[in-house]
């Protein structure tokens, strides 16, 4: 019997994905476990394995199609010798009745996570979108992607008014972009690059963060010489093992210890309550060709420098290849963004919700400092903490940062 192959939910938060590449052609034999396609999600490219065996009868979604809602049929698998159906079996019934439009087109373009049927189909715990039936229908009629909407109903449920607001915003954007077009015609030199999934996610999340999370910032200058000296000694003793500890590794360890000592920053704010985490899971921002990703060192406070170093290196390498598993970059209780390698003096980072704080680390550089009434040179680094003021008050942020400075300036506790 012909079965539909549905767009998989490759991570708990995945709502849509881009079909980057088909790894099988129509007519190819498929064994369970064969790689069918590469799917690009908001954060990574993942391989999609076949579960059932058969012949890839029909590809419904061409390579390069973006924003395919999870559970949309993307291909039809048939048994040997079986006739290949034109259309997937799992088109929501409303669309079938619609008749006119070609069915497979509907299944690709329309169907923004429609009707209960699809959610029943997937066994994964994908993030459920709360939306009223009326709003869902309106969104579908207007081709609005509900994943991009913010609900104002109870528990963020999307209501009719949110669709109306979304449509208004969309028509506003359209006007802008048409006026933009005329500029483009005059200038004749604008290249239009459609957003990648990741770009859209970054845009949405950071806008949400900067507009909805009240940020405040505290900075300190930290003297790095002791830490650098310790690092040289450690690396000299580990040279035979091929281990090389970086300043970044040591900062991850220092931040983890500081969070353990003062857990007030290891929290998240929700509308009704504060979440206090016992684990310290540090997310580190890694830039990758199309944006950035934040792989996570779990329980960093319980790991040695050597473990942190190995893990950070492995995660960064795989992050740049787009090969991280979802659980390796989702979650995290605190983030570090290190731009030291770019030689910047200081910067402030945007909080990565639902986390409540992020530490921005700038470059270490020789600066004149006054010690015991005398000017001398020291390697100084400015660290700026961005904090969600709903969760964490100013004094706590400042105290925590001072503690971090003490840990870095007296670095032996990082190794014992």
């Amino acid at each position: 019997m012909a079965t539909d192959i549905l767009m998989p939910a490759l991570s708990p938060t995945m709502k849509t994905g881009t079909l980057a590449r088909w790894l099988k052609k129509e007519g190819d034999k498929v064994l369970s476990g064969d790689l069918l396609a590469e799917i690009e999600t908001d954060k990574a490219t993942m391989e999609f394995e076949a579960v059932d065996e058969g012949i890839l009868g029909r590809i419904l979604v061409p390579e390069g199609t973006a924003d395919i809602p999870v559970n949309t049929p993307i291909a039809i698998l048939v048994e040997e010798g079986e006739a290949v159906p034109e259309a997937p079996a799992s088109v929501p019934s409303g669309e079938k009745e619609g008749g006119g439009a070609s069915a497979d087109k509907a299944s690709v373009a329309a169907a923004p996570t429609s009707s209960s049927k699809e959610s029943k189909g997937s066994g994964t715990k994908e993030e459920r979108i709360f939306i009223s039936p009326l709003a869902r229908r309106l969104a579908k009629e207007h081709g609005l992607d509900i994943a991009s909407l913010k609900g104002t109903g109870p528990n963020g449920r999307i209501l009719k008014r949110d669709i109306e607001a979304g449509l208004k915003a969309a028509s506003g954007q359209k006007e802008e972009s048409t006026s933009g077009e005329s500029v483009a015609e005059q200038a004749g030199s604008i290249e239009r690059v459609p957003h990648s999934t990741m770009r859209k996610v970054i845009a949405r999340r950071l806008t949400e963060s900067k507009t909805q999370v009240p940020h405040f910032y505290v900075s300190v200058d930290i003297e790095l010489d002791a830490l650098l000296a310790l690092r040289s000694k450690l690396n000299a003793s580990l040279v035979d093992e091929g281990v090389k500890i970086s300043v970044n590794d040591m900062m991850i360890r220092a931040v983890a210890l500081a969070l353990k000592k003062r857990p007030g920053l290891n929290v998240q704010f929700t509308e009704t309550e504060m979440l206090h985490f016992s684990d310290v899971d540090i997310a580190m921002a890694v830039s990758i060709p199309d944006g950035l990703i934040t792989p996570i060192i779990r329980k960093a406070d319980q790991k040695t420098l050597r473990q942190i170093s190995a893990e950070a290196r492995d995660l960064a390498i795989r992050a740049r290849k787009g090969k991280l598993k979802p659980e390796e970059f989702q979650g995290g209780t605190f983030s570090i963004s290190n731009m030291g390698m770019f030689g910047v003096k200081d910067f402030a980072a945007i909080i990565n919700p639902p986390q409540a704080a992020i530490l921005a680390i700038a470059a270490g550089e020789k600066r004149p400092v006054i010690r015991d009434g005398e000017v001398r040179a020291a390697t100084m680094m400015t660290a700026t903490l961005s904090v969600d003021h709903r969760a964490i008050d100013g004094a706590l942020g400042a105290q925590w940062l001072n503690m971090l400075r003490d840990l870095v300036q007296n670095p032996y506790s990082l190794v014992i």
């Binding site: 009223s132 039936p133 009326l134 229908r137 309106l138 009629e141 109870p154 009719k160």
Partner: protein
Amino acid sequence: MSNLFDLIVIGGGPGGYVAALRASQLGMNVALVEDAQLGGVCLNWGCIPTKALLRSAEVYQSLYKLKEYGLSAENPSFDLPSVVKRSRDIAARMGRGVAHLLKKAKVKTVEGRAQLAGRSGDVHTVSVLKGGQETTRLQAPHVILATGARARQLPGLETDGKLVWGAREAMTPDMLPKRLLVIGSGAIGVEFASFYRDMGCEVTIAEVADRILVAEDAEISMQARKAFEKRGIVIHTSAKVGSLQKGDDHVSTILETPKGTVELTVDRVICAVGITGNVENLGLEQTRAQVERGHIIVDEFCRTDEPGLYAIGDVAGAPWLAHKASHEGVLCVEKISGRSPEPLHPRNIPGCTYSHPQIASVGLTEEKAKEAGYRIKVGKFPFLANGKAVALGETEGMTKTIFDAETGELLGAHMIGAEVTEMIQGYVIVRTGELTEAELSETVFPHPTISETMHESVLAAFEGALHI
């Protein structure tokens, strides 16, 4: 004990006492000031006692239909004082219930008349008076006014407590008038007309609008009129009541109607021509709160223009319904406590009239939906085609639904007939949850129930009802 509270509620009706209970639940230290009886108009002089009376009338009327059911009884009769006593006892019992709930919630209840006595900084002072003398002063950063409303008095038609009754006299009659004129055909007027007719009075309704129950859908209003007329109630619409000539024990007047003038002599008149808010002597003058046509102006979270001062329920304007008052009480308190409650949407507030037949509705009437520019689909289903209604002997009635043809949104639902006041909530949930005709069609309604008409009416609006 300190007189400083987190919240002071003025008025212990369904608006005020529910606000106090919710506030206590949210951890606030609350004081509630009530001048008369806890439970307000609703429990003591409104919703509950009238429903008790209407129940007596309903049971009494059914005695005359016993033959239809194969039963018989000799000489059905009633004892008016006992009927009234039952109603008063029920009201008293419910009132004690409220007192108990407030006590359990540790709400400090204070007897007396409350008046705002100024604000310094964030703190309002409320003065409590008894017999014109101040007995205590309370302070709180938040004060909710839930002082309710009273019957509107029209010049020439003022109630006098003897020949011209207001709702209070009408629900505690010392005699059964043989002939009764009810002025006004809103829910209250129609309920009294229905009660007294069932008890055997000759009842005339005079309504100034061109139909009775003018807030209801025109078709429902028409069906209600027919049903009342069938039971012998005389109804004059577009009627103007002339001056009331009071005799010893009767009242004469002249009704001007489009069909000519009608001379009328009755034993009693019930005047139910609307409601006006209790906004006087509250000390509002020294605040920024605004009063317009008898009610306090508030925003969607019941806030007045005066910081820390709120108004809920009847005193804050229409619709004058107990459930609206309570709901506002809850959302107002939740807003004060920093939550983000959903404001009340007028189109999602049901309205019920407990006459015989009952009438219940939510949302837009057909007329209003068209006026608002919707392309609509209308479905109707008569009780006559419903098995349960037939089995009950209650075939008079209809369920009507109005949908937006484009989106399937339920714009309005209107019901008339037995038990409709118990059923309308189904459609209210549809509106609040933004369900569409699709979910309604998919819903399994139990058989046999009158609620099946709610299903069939939806089917009728789209692909056709099944049982007609």
